[in-house]
Symmetry: C2
Subunit: 365 residues, 2 copies
């Protein structure tokens, strides 16, 4: 166990944005909210999964909705507790710890708020090892741990409990309901016991996010280009360096969807690159050929500062580096690829694990 204090939050937010692959909402908003909560209630106890009792009930908390909305509608701060209280009242369970559903953007920091508010420990684990846009896209789903009952709370005080027949239905119904609740809500879900979380989760990702953040920040302060160091830290691959020359982005059905094109800089001069996104960056195409896809991670950072760029903050003219990071092996199973592979998102291309050679040229149809 170690303490998470206010001054750790900047690094955590930065690292979580790298692992957030463009999604999960602007981490800066989450950082400010978590700082306010720690200021008010004191530091948070971060525990290793091994420290968690097998029988203990644990729950995740996060925000659901289009990141563009999350950024414009800064949460009031009481929603995590409201969603938590709604779930507790509904299930009657004594809950002993909190964990992040995803280690991406704002959703790595909402659990810090709830942990500070309730005094419960935060577990150093998550259900994605990255960010994904839908509620059932977690490693818990791969072993049939359901999301429901899903408690949702908005800033007006409304709350909803969704009990879908499975996690896909809970996602559909919750996503529809939240469009009336201001476009984003705070959710409390994936109530499970310690032994389930340890088996099904991805371990030590909260600490990983903090380490990545420290790396980027320390290099930025020494005025070195942090891209190379970042690639090394995450065991990734630099796919492309370029400048945004085209951007299509719209809000649709509670998601931020679109594509962004880059024209190459430096070594990539003369080449073109396109990223397709649905809250997160999902498919990367170099010179018309698919070179990496979800569930592997596609992270976009500013070339100069190494600071990650989210899909809702992309701007024309941004100078960006695109980094691919291999996903956790849990995602590379048949059910993992069915759940979060490119075809699930409607991209007509097969998943080929990063690092394995594709026998033929892969083209989006």
């Amino acid at each position: 166990m170690r303490k998470i204090e206010s001054h750790h939050l900047e690094d955590i937010a930065l690292g979580a944005a790298v692992l957030g692959t463009g999604g999960g909402g602007d981490p800066y908003v989450g950082q400010l909210m978590a700082m306010a909560a720690i200021e008010k209630y004191g530091p948070v106890n971060l525990i290793s999964p091994e420290e968690l009792d097998d029988e203990a009930w644990v729950v995740s908390v996060g925000m659901m909705g289009a990141p563009t909305v999350v950024v414009e509608k800064i949460p009031g701060g009481q929603e995590p507790l409201q969603a938590f209280e709604a779930l507790k009242a509904h299930t009657g369970k004594e809950i002993s710890a909190i964990f992040p559903i995803e280690i991406g953007g704002i959703n790595s920091l909402i659990p810090v708020i709830l942990a500070a508010t309730t005094g419960l420990p935060l577990v150093d684990i998550d259900g994605m090892g990255r960010a994904f846009p839908e509620l059932q896209m977690v490693t818990f789903h791969l072993v049939d741990i359901p999301s429901g009952p899903v408690a949702m709370a908005d800033e007006k005080g409304n709350s909803v409990i969704v009990n879908g027949v499975d996690s896909v239905w809970s996602e559909r119904i919750g996503r529809q309901a939240l469009t009336t609740m201001g476009g984003s809500v705070t959710t409390c879900d994936y109530l499970m016991q310690g032994f389930q979380l340890k088996e099904a989760g991805i371990h030590h990702t909260f600490s990983l996010a903090q380490r990545i953040g420290e790396t980027v920040r320390s290099l930025k302060h020494r005025n070195q280009s942090p891209v190379e160091a970042l690639v090394e830290e995450v065991a990734g691959t630099l796919l492309f360096t370029g400048k945004v020359n085209n951007l299509l982005r719209r809000n649709s059905g509670g998601f931020t969807k679109g594509e962004v094109s880059l024209s190459g800089l430096g070594q990539d001069q003369g080449r073109t690159f396109t990223l397709y996104f649905q809250n997160e960056f999902l498919v990367a195409e170099a010179d018309g050929e698919v070179v990496a896809t979800t569930p592997d991670l596609l992270t976009v950072v500013d070339v100069e500062t190494g600071v990650p760029v989210t899909t809702e903050s992309l701007r024309y003219g941004n100078r960006l580096a695109v980094i691919a990071i291999p996903c956790n092996e849990k995602w590379r199973t048949v059910k993992g690829i069915e759940t979060a592979g490119p075809r699930y998102f409607g991209y007509n291309v097969d998943y080929i694990p990063l690092g394995e050679e594709s026998k033929e040229r892969r083209v989006l149809q």
Copy 2:
């Protein structure tokens, strides 16, 4: 207390369609479902409000969604019990009796199904004395009894609990969620105690529906025009007799909305008449002048048979009689008119109680 048996259901459905003012779904579907339930579980005990214990917990059950969808998507029969069980589990209350939320169309008969299935008595009371399209348009709302928690169940087995900050928010969120749940759901809500139901409800409307049904059916069987007898039975006014010459109808936001125009027959030859509806008939206009509005009841029946016509079953060429019936006095209060008067529905005209003279010609703007 008296028994409701299978052979009573035709009259109840017919009478409830008259009081349903065109909304609440096709009563025939409800009749078939209730018949099947009584066949399987035995007759239902109908109790007078006076027989209900003041401390007893009671709950209403009904369907929510566009009637056009309800008619096409015949419910599976288990949804009332699923919604009821979800509410019971959520609140932990011992529930002693069931009541209809509205005495209109299918929603007067869904409680019969739940009463048969659970063996609980049905209370001879409702929250509208008619049908209305939104969840908070009940006399309970006028004395601040909230609808929530609202349990919703669909035919796939999904359930949702909506806890809006008030009944208007529960309505908005529930209405949005149900568009993903197949366009209609069964709801269980307005959990309250006996003394509240007795004070806030409209008494003996279930029996009234049955009496109206008996009147229409007995006259139909004697080959007399039932319109005059019906007008007398409900203490109403015959507003117009005519033939449908124009019909605009669409499904929008979970509602069946539109308008129907009639050209006069018999005494009304040469005159025109228009009815505006949103699930229910809400505003009546004769020769361009508004002559009756919600919350008073506008009922449309077939001229020959006296059988009520719902807004989703209107057809070009129908020969119809339009009857206005004074609403219960609870609706004629300031909050009643705010909640269910013409302006709430977006019609730019004041409510003038049926029977009171309007000083000036009222025209929709």
